[in-house]
Assembly symmetry: C2
């Protein structure tokens, strides 16, 4: 169990989220990296319902995760992964120090954050948050086509490899957690190499522990009085 | 002029794009970084109209830029910025080696790629590529609200600083080029600190040189015979 009250690394997460979001909040990314690296961390839990004003100084959008490591402050889940990958730990290296190995991990990490996840942000909006809006119903078919083409390319890249960039790396933490936005659709299952990769990622003990720890941190829903709603 | 036929760094760009895209293709990012660092590079130009099959081995989505540096291959413009920032050069450091300075640059770099640019991908689609689609017309007002809120937060972060993360860095190359997707709207001008930041970025000689070099590389439009259209 890497959660320890006196750990040098602190990960900020939410104290409660609605059921559909449980296990899917993006602090799962640095939690998973800590598990793989054998690094202890402590949790700082904030309200997702009424974000404290001071938190915007740590995280300009008011989102999670934020990571503190000694005196160093890091925001954006991608930056927390690079920070932890460079910090190292007892586990295997998640971000090689130099050469093609490093370049491949960085390339695929940015691919997850800038070339795959943006499609999934829109997909989650169209199929969940805005699902009842007329524009979302009309947008859905073309978005599904565009997303499918992108996943076809990802599937092609995965046909001859176990992980995106050689050994398991922060790029896989980024990509597997990105794909979880469509784990209730047949978009992954329809692509065998992608489905096998996704299953390999989810089966890692580090992911399972991170998932359990995120869910364990959630408390009771806020009362109306507490949130002022 | 950093373009040199015998340079160790090679940046892949397009040999021609339609007028609206000239100066906006994402190879401007590593070109700008090379200018700031005083690093020479050579160009490899490919067709945007019919991407060569072999190119997907270098860049899984068939997009530009791709960067080669000696024997090392890098794709995704974000990864090219980190690679160049770590490589260093004659110019000032664009990515500090350690501590809070490094963490801040990495945080803001991922912020540009994962927390700002995804809104702008959707905005460009809604206001340009799909502008005549019914869904795009219906989506536009809510997207404008969401994008405006994100830009308000960015403006708030910029009120007390010249650049995003202390000295000028790869985070500013990422953010300024991201904002160019809305340079024809009043979304930037309506926010004074953001507008001043954006103007500071565009005024840098490194950006101006990168812009001129991208545009200079474009040749004649492909004939129907060449593209098979």
């Amino acid at each position: 169990m890497p959660i320890a009250a006196d750990a040098e690394i602190e990960i900020t997460a939410f104290e409660w989220v609605p059921d559909f979001a449980k296990g899917y909040v993006r602090d799962i990314r640095p939690r998973w990296a800590c598990e793989e690296l054998g690094l202890s961390y402590r949790e700082r839990l904030i309200s997702a319902v009424s974000r404290p004003d001071w938190y915007y100084r740590d995280q300009p959008w008011g989102q999670v995760p934020h990571l503190a490591d000694g005196g160093v402050s890091v925001f954006e889940s991608g930056a927390t992964l690079v920070h932890l990958g460079e910090r190292g730990g007892q586990g295997s290296a998640l971000l090689p120090a130099s050469g093609q190995a490093r370049a491949s991990v960085l390339s695929w990490t940015f691919a997850a954050f800038n070339s795959v996840e943006p499609f999934l942000f829109e997909w989650v909006n169209v199929s969940l948050f805005a699902a009842k809006e007329e524009w979302a119903k009309l947008r859905r078919p073309s978005l599904l086509t565009e997303l499918g083409k992108r996943l076809d390319r990802l599937q092609a890249a995965l046909e001859d490899r176990e992980w995106l960039a050689g050994a398991f790396s922060i790029a896989d933490i980024a990509m597997v957690t990105t794909l979880r936005s469509i784990d209730d659709s047949d978009l992954i299952e329809a692509r065998p190499a992608l489905a096998a990769y996704y299953a390999r990622g989810l089966a890692r003990p580090g992911f399972q522990a991170a998932l359990a720890d995120q869910i364990a941190a959630f408390g009771e829903p806020p009362s109306r009085q507490q949130t002022g709603a």
